[in-house]
Amino acid sequence: MQELVDLANGFSVALTLPNLGFIAIGIVLGVLIGVLPGLGGANGVAILLPLTFSMNPTSAIIMLSCIYWGALFGGAITSILFNIPGEPWSVATTFDGHPMAQQGRAAQALTAAFTSSFVGALFAVLLITFTAPLLARFALKFGPAEFFAVQLLTFCSFVGMSKEPPAKTLAAMMLGFALAAVGMDSVTGQLRMTYGVPELLKGFDFLIAVIGLFGIGEILLTMEEGLAFKGRSAKITLGVVLRTWKELLAHWVLFLRSTLIGCWMGITPGGATPASFMSYGMARRMSKHPEEFGKGRLEGVVAPETAAHAAGTAALLPMLTLGIPGSPTAAVLLGGLLIWGLQPGPMLFVEQKDFVWGLIASMYLGNVVGLIVVLTTVPWWAAILRIPFAVIAPVIIVICAIGAYTVHSSMFDVVLMLVFGVLGYLFKKLKYPLAPLVLALVLGDMAEASFRQAMLLSSGSLGIFWSNPLVGSLTTLALLLLVWPLVGRARAAFGKGGGPGKRPVGLGG
């Protein structure tokens, strides 16, 4: 039970007055980010990251991760009251959440959503508390080949499990790797792909990419709809909360199933968005009244919210233990660790105990604070959403520009942000996934380093990736996931009579 002792130490780190303050600020900022269109978990954290350079790393990551929890909570508010998913992972929440609001049950829907989020996150944090140290201890034995195999598994599972066409997933990912390689090669000191442009010496910073892709890109996308917010208002009273909680107790199987889906999708880089859809689909299929889904069933809110929050939280498990983030936001947090001079991965659990356990403890506290904050302040957030887009949009653009500039105090980065914004819009419209691009950009250097080290050890033979059972099975699993879409396509081509294929594998939009 070493974990409990460590966790208690973690609480003593997180429970100091300044850190509690950072938790509260983080949650409030996070809900705000989650509510506003064009600002999401990933780019919200990216924009605020430069502000934390002067803070101590533990407080900084506590605040930034709380922004993430807050954003996860905030997405539900816009989905239910306004039928506008503030975040991609709350799209599934609109299916039943908004009908409930239209029937005058907004408070009940919101309470259910927040509570589900909380439960999902709580289980995921428990999972992290007890498995992260084990996984880290296990990963201490990893050599470069094992690390590359895990990274390969991460990226191959993107191709295999993504709902986007595999060629587009691969293209987005390779673009990320290519951008990561620009600049000085850290091993040989040679300049790569700068083509004589001095601004490219430092390479492409993923923070700029995140702000552009998710911030500006999202604003352009939102503009298409010519948004006019028309929403319901809601006030949550204690009576409604208690009544809804009583009702929710009956759905414990649903909670358990949604949490499991969420944790699994969060650890493997499926992410919160597919987890929420999958969980919603499962809930509908297993329900006794599937025909009532989409018309305002409580389960239709519980299932996606639980899974999304569990996935969002569980995404930090591989980030902390292996240095491989399970979601774009986790990738941004990982980038923060690198900037503060902390190397994510198994050594973190040995060398930076205070940091790791302080962070894990803050996950418990952050979600408790988050639940209380959102339950009590819903009317204010709904009021913010009534501010017309003509005011919100330019303000968000200003915030994105400030965020992009402050990373390196470089005007070139602001221009890059714009370029990434247009790219993000095109990618979204043409159904290229953004997450693999961002993850490849973050992990590119690490993946290349472990690949080259492995190649050095084996003098260039790929056999090293099958040199022992562990690395061999990881590599084989990765390659299996990579060809999975081809299997699905072959099945669809040869077995047309045998029912519709589950996965549409056609190329192109």
Binding site: P50, L51, S54, P165, A167, K168, L170, A171, M174, L175, F177, A178, A181, D185, V187, T188, Q190, R192, M193, Y195, I219, L220, M223, E224, E225, G226, P388, F389, A390, V391, A393, P394, V395, I397, V398, A401, I402, Y405, T406, S409, M411, V414, M417, L418, G421, V422, Y425, L426, K429, L430, Y432, E448, F451, R452, M455, L456, G460, L507, G508, G509
Partner: protein, 168 residues
Amino acid sequence: MSEPARSDAPAVRARGPEAALAVLLQAIATLVILDSLRVGVGWADDGPRSGYFPFIVGVLLLASATWILVSQLRRWRADRSEFAERAQLRQVMSMAVPITLYVGAIAVVGLYLASIALIAWFMLRHGRYRVLSTAAVSVGVPLLAFLVFERWFLVPLPKGPVEALLGF
């Protein structure tokens, strides 16, 4: 976009942008491959050269972009999927153009004045706000940014000649 603009056309089809983006990715892949060949894709005495890993990345990018392009070209006539309606694209451009001008303006007059202009433009043009409330928001937001960044967190933001005149 890639088709001749006709006012009666209901929507822009996806196939043009789709092919164009694939070609752009091919061009990027070519740049990656060429530069990797320049720095060396083989082995030196101390291990793989700098171009070793990027070369593989470039080849995979070229392959996947070509795959996307070819499959798009193969169903060129049959593909009727839409990119966006023209009215929607006009909306997007009404945002994209001001953002581009804004980024250009930051380089010239600094972030503060550019932000005031951007917010004021949107509020007057799209929100039809009165001048007074427009002025309040468009000046208030950059002022808040100034306080938070320059005063509290000591992070300097880009400034132009006007701020220099005021002594910042």
